[in-house]
Symmetry: C2
Subunit: 384 residues, 2 copies
C-alpha cells in the first residue's frame, strides 16, 4: 500500500546504494527470523498459518520484492528465462516471443533474449553459454538450423524447452519441445486446392535442416491420397525475397497452377513474381500461405493461408518450462494449438483450358506490369 520502493541501480559501480528492503527487514517487522521469511516467499509448507500471514503482511507493508541477483547467487529458483532465436523481425519468430513474454510476465519471471547470428560451432557454443548464464533456463526457437544447432549445444542439465517445426526431427530424445501440428492444416489446404480443380499443388518449403516439415508431410499426404504424384518440394528461404526468387522460376513452368508457400512472406514474394510474369492470382495461379500474419488479409488478393497460433505456442513453451522445473524432469514432448485454414482470395480454380500462355513479358521488379481485368467471385472470406 505505502510501498516506497527504492532502486539500487547503476551500470557502473557507483556507490549510491539505496537501502532496498530486504528479507531481514521483513523478518524484523514480522518478529521472525530471516529464514522464516525465506520460507514464506518460497511457499515452504513448514510455516504455520499464523506466521505466514504475519510475514505476508509485513512483506506487503514494506513493499518487499525478492532480489533476483541474490537469489540466483544463492542458488535459489532463478525466475527468469532466456529465449534463444535467430530473428526477431520475422513474424514466425516474433509472435512466439510475444507469447513467452506474456506468460513469463504473468508468472513473475524475467525474460531475456539472445540472437543467434553465426552458425560457427564455437560461436554457437559461446552464445548458448552466455544465454544460460544469467537465467539458468532456456527456450530455444528451433524452427531453423541455427536454433537446432543451438539446442545441441545446451548441456542436458539446463532446463530447456524447444520450439520446433516437427517432433520427428533430430530433437534430443527426452528434451521437452512444443510445436504446432500443421500436418492436418497443410493437408486440408492442399485438399482445398485440389478440390478447386488443380491437377497438382506445388510446395515452396521453408528451410528445414532435417528431413521434412510437418506441413510438407501434410501436403504430400493430401496429394498421395488423391493419387497425385507429389512434385519435388522446392527449398526456399524465410523471406519474401526468397519467395520472389523461387516464384520467378515457378512462373515459367506452365504446369504450375497452385502453390503452397512455406509462409506468408514467401507467398507474397511468389505473388509478386507471378504478377510480374503476367500470371494473375488467383485466376491463373493459386497461392496459399502459412502463418496468417496480421497484414495477410490486406494483400491484393487477400491471402488464403493457414493460421498458426504462435503466441499460444510461446505461452505453452513457457508453461512447459515451469512444469519441467517444478516436477523434476518428467516432461516428454507435447503437441500444441492446431493450425487452421483461412480461406480468402488468393486461391481459385485453375484456368479453364489448362494454363494459358503468358500474356505479358516478364519484367524485372520495379517496373509496373499490366494487370488484366477479371470477373468472378469465388473465394469467400472465412475469416475470424
Amino acid at each position: 500500500m505505502t510501498g516506497h520502493i527504492t532502486h539500487a541501480s547503476h551500470l557502473s559501480g557507483n556507490s549510491d546504494r539505496s537501502p532496498a528492503v530486504s528479507i531481514r527487514d521483513v523478518a524484523r517487522a514480522a518478529g521472525v527470523s530471516h529464514q522464516t521469511v525465506s520460507r514464506v516467499i518460497n511457499d515452504s509448507p513448514k510455516v504455520s498459518r499464523a506466521t505466514r500471514e504475519a510475514v505476508l503482511a509485513a512483506i506487503d507493508q514494506l513493499g518487499f520484492r525478492p532480489n533476483r541477483a541474490a537469489r540466483a547467487l544463492a542458488g535459489g529458483p532463478v525466475q527468469s528465462v532466456t529465449v534463444l532465436g535467430s530473428n526477431t523481425s520475422l513474424y514466425g519468430f516474433a509472435a512466439p516471443l510475444e507469447g513467452v513474454e506474456e506468460a513469463s510476465r504473468d508468472a513473475g519471471f524475467g525474460m531475456g533474449f539472445r540472437a543467434l547470428e553465426s552458425l560457427n560451432p564455437a560461436d554457437m557454443r559461446d552464445a548458448v553459454e552466455r544465454a544460460i548464464e544469467p537465467a539458468g533456463a532456456l527456450i530455444v526457437i528451433a524452427f531453423d538450423q541455427a536454433g537446432a544447432m543451438a539446442l545441441e549445444c545446451v548441456p542436458p542439465e539446463v532446463p530447456t524447452v524447444a520450439m520446433i517445426q516437427a517432433p520427428s526431427s533430430a530433437t534430443l530424445p527426452g528434451r521437452p519441445s512444443v510445436w504446432i501440428d500443421e500436418f492436418a492444416a497443410a493437408k486440408e489446404a492442399t485438399e482445398y486446392l485440389l478440390g478447386l480443380g488443380h491437377a497438382t499443388v506445388h510446395h515452396l518449403a521453408i528451410p528445414s535442416w532435417s528431413a521434412a516439415t510437418r506441413r510438407m508431410e501434410g501436403w504430400r499426404a493430401a496429394l498421395e491420397q488423391a493419387a497425385v504424384r507429389p512434385p519435388n518440394a522446392l527449398q526456399g528461404g524465410w523471406t519474401a525475397q526468397s519467395g520472389y526468387e523461387a516464384g520467378c522460376k515457378l512462373a515459367k513452368d506452365s504446369r504450375v497452377t497452385a502453390v503452397l508457400a512455406g509462409n506468408d512472406e514467401i507467398a507474397l514474394g511468389v505473388m509478386r513474381a507471378m504478377h510480374e510474369a503476367g500470371r494473375r492470382v488467383p485466376d491463373d495461379i493459386s497461392v496459399v500461405g502459412f502463418d496468417d500474419v496480421p497484414y495477410a488479409r490486406f494483400f491484393s488478393p487477400a491471402l488464403t493461408t493457414v493460421r498458426q497460433d504462435f503466441k499460444t505456442l510461446g505461452k505453452v513453451a513457457f508453461h512447459k518450462l515451469l512444469e519441467l522445473s517444478h516436477s523434476g524432469r518428467t516432461a516428454p514432448t507435447l503437441a500444441s494449438p492446431q493450425a487452421q485454414l483461412i480461406i480468402r482470395e488468393s486461391a481459385g480454380p485453375p484456368p479453364r483450358s489448362g494454363p494459358r500462355g503468358r500474356q505479358a513479358i516478364a519484367t524485372p521488379l520495379g517496373t509496373r506490369p499490366d494487370t488484366g481485368p477479371n470477373s468472378h467471385d469465388e473465394g469467400e472470406e472465412n475469416d475470424r
Copy 2:
C-alpha cells in the same frame, strides 16, 4: 583454450551446484589476491602490467567468466539492459530491438525484454519496476503512448535511454533519447508527390500522444512551402487494419489523390481499401509508406516508402546507454540515422482530368473486386 565450463543451472532450488570457476580460483592460480583479479576484470589502472598479464592468463586458462548475479548483488556494473516496449511483432518495434540485441551482445551485455500491456498507471509503474530490477538499466521504446507513459514512471536515477518519435515531444529534459530524423525524408516524400502533380497530399498519421510527429511536420512543411494548405492529418493506428479503415473513408473523398501513410502496414491497408473501392494505385491514387519493411517491395504495386534504419537506431540507443553509464550522466539528446525515400511503384501522377469517378462499387473485404487494366510506366525503382 581448455575452458571446461560448468553450469550452475536450476530453476527450482535443487542442490546440484557445480563448482563454476570464481574470482578466487583465478586468484589462486595467478598467485594474487581475489581483489586484484577483480581489479583486472574491471580495468582498474592500479594494477601493474606484469600482474595484469598473469591474471589475464589465469582467466583465460580457467575459462573464467564473471558471475552476473554476484556482480549485481555486490553493486558492481550490472552489464545488462532491459528493453521496454509495447510490441514485438510490429516491424518498427522489432527491428530496433534487434539492433539493441546485437549491440548488447557485442558489448557482453545481457538483454531482457518486457512488454507494456496496460495503460493503467499502477500497472505501468509496476511493469517499470519489474523491468528495472534485474538489469538496472533501461531502453524504452517510446514511439507510442505506452512507451511514453512508461518513461515517465522511471525514477531519474535509473540509467535510461528512450527511443522516441520526435525530440520536441514530452520527453523529460535531460533524459537521453534517440530518434530518427524523418523530417527531411517526410518533406522529400511529400515534395515528390507534389512534384508528380498532386494538388495536395493527405497524411494518415501513426498515433502520437503529444503534439505531432516529425514526419507530420515534414509533410506540413512541404505543403506550406508549396503554398498548399495542409489538410487535417488523419489519426490512425499502427496496423494494416487501421490503415484499411481509414482508407475506406479516404476512398470516398474524390479530392484525395495522394496519401502519405504513417507506416508500411498502414499503407498496405490503404491500398487494399482503395483496391476495394475501385480506385487504382497508383493510377487513381498514390500511396507512400514509412519504414520500408522487408516485404514492402513485394507488394503489388511495390511500395514507395521512406526507409528507416531501425536497427542502427537500436544500436545507437545501446551505445548511448553505455556512454551514459561510463561518463556520468552527461549525455544530452542525439539525432541518429537519416531516413531515405525509396521510390518504387505505388506513387504516380494524379489522374488526368481530376480524379475520375469510382468505377467499381465498394465491396467489403473478402470479395474479390475488379482490377482495371493500366498502362504507363513511371515510378522507377530506386532501391538498394
